[in-house]
Amino acid sequence: MFFQQLVNGLTLGSVYAVIAIGYTLVFGVLNIVNMAHGGIIMMGAYIGLLLVTVAGWGLFPALIGAMVGGAILGYLLEVLALRPLRGKKVTHLAPLISTIGVSIFLESAALLVFGPQTRAFPTDYNQLMDFGLFKISEIQIISMGTAVVLMVLLTLLLNKTRIGKAVRATAENIETASLLGIHTRRIITFTVMLASALGAAAGVLIALSFNAIEPTMGTSMGFKGLAVLIMGGLGNVGGAMAGGFILGVAEVFSVAYGASSFRDAVAFGLIILILFIRPQGLFAKAGKGGRP
């Protein structure tokens, strides 16, 4: 029982981690919480669904297709909703409100186009593997495997490549980055696209794991990602990863050991608790992390 729940929790947590990374990347370079991220997660799920059902693609090509779609949505989000507000004499809350607007727009658009009904995500991967201590489904393996691969690739991107280092420099101090010759506007656009591509991938993984896609799925998933963002320390990629796994495991265990109706209460109770004890987040470094 314990190991089974641990496996379930880690699988769920890996997806939460990918969602939270999307938040944390954008927070890093723009200092705002991107409330449209949940909408992009949901759109990613629908794009994946359409590619599998209508276009007849396999799961992995559809996943990549959804990520490309997510990146395009991210580009539009940055160009239409965020860039026009930058450098203007507007309140610093304006871009936040703007992303809330985008989130409402995406949800309404999905409602209009796809309808309110919940759709299933068809898949051929339904085998269950028995390891004695625990059972794991093919879907769980795909979900966790994909999430881990994405996180490894992202870590390599941020630490080893020129553009990744530019993202980190821009996240740390945008003015210093520009003085070093970094085209910071382009880096911001790239970061929003990257985060949105990860969000769309997470959307497909959620659709796969829960076998349910609906226009409102982004909201609840988005809030969980937000919880992880705060738990891990704002703008901290490593913290987002660890926080995702912690939340996933905590949530699954609370369901397994009796409190299934408190599933979400656990998630948000955890944030409140952590904010009391460590207001800067669990893994925040000095400087950027913990800024309100």
Binding site: S178, G181, H183, T184, G287, K288
Partner: protein, 238 residues
């Protein structure tokens, strides 16, 4: 020929004019210093040159062309680099990564490696600490890293904003030695300093700034021997 020229530059924070018509020129190959007290507008001058602030009036010419309205990264690509006030080391990146970011716009890997080697020879401490995070360095080491990082861009024109601020005397001497070396190697230097004595010793020409205006200028040796300079430098009335 003047590499950098400011013509009657006015810049403001809101309604307060921080620069009230600054004109100055930095000839190629020289060290020019801008001295003055706290709040005189020295850093604002630097920020305006680098495109971090837009001038309300006037023009900034680099290599004879106006650079007003350009973004900082475009100005860097034209060959001018600023070592900002307070060093602005990337705290969460290693010493090595900080230096690499200095060469962000360069693609000549072999020459970059050569420059990196040279910087590590000049600052052996940076080499020892190349895998440490920038935030763990002492103030003096951070200043060396900031200068090394700017050198990695191989600028034609190097701007330095208060490089001696908050440093121990031993480090201050070292920093000024390095600035002279960089200049001898062919880089034009524009230096903003509160430490007027040291700045005037290495500079060719000097401007003295007071509450947003240039109040005095001349060859550095002349300015250094002028009895009014200390008063101006302290920000008082002459």
């Amino acid at each position: 020929m003047a590499l950098l020229e400011l013509k009657n530059v006015v810049a403001s924070y809101g309604n307060i004019n921080a620069l009230k018509g600054i004109s100055l020129s930095v000839p190629e190959g020289k060290i020019v210093t801008l001295i003055g007290a706290n709040g005189a507008g020295k850093s604002t001058t630097m920020r305006t040159i680098m495109g971090l602030m837009k001038p309300k009036e006037g023009d900034v010419l680099f290599k004879g062309k106006s650079i007003v309205g350009m973004y900082p990264n475009e100005i860097v690509s034209h060959g001018m680099v600023l070592v900002p006030e307070g060093r602005q080391i990337l705290q969460n990146m290693t010493v090595l990564e900080n230096l690499q970011m200095g060469a962000y716009q360069r693609r000549d890997k072999a020459e970059m490696a050569k420059d990196m080697k040279h910087i590590f020879e000049r600052f052996p401490r940076l080499k020892e600490r190349q895998n440490q995070y920038g935030g763990t360095l002492s103030g003096g080491e951070q200043q060396m890293l900031a200068i090394g990082r700017a050198m990695m861009a191989r600028p034609e024109m190097l701007l330095l904003d208060e490089p001696s601020m908050g440093l121990a005397p031993l480090f201050i001497q070292e920093i000024f030695d390095v600035i002279e070396e960089i200049n001898k190697a062919g880089t034009t230097v524009f230096l903003v300093e509160q430490n007027a004595r040291k700045a005037l010793r290495i500079a060719d020409y000097a401007y003295v700034m007071e509450t947003g205006k240039i109040v005095m200028q001349g060859p550095a040796a002349e300015i250094a021997s002028d009895p009014n300079v200390m008063a101006a430098y302290l920000g008082g009335r002459k």
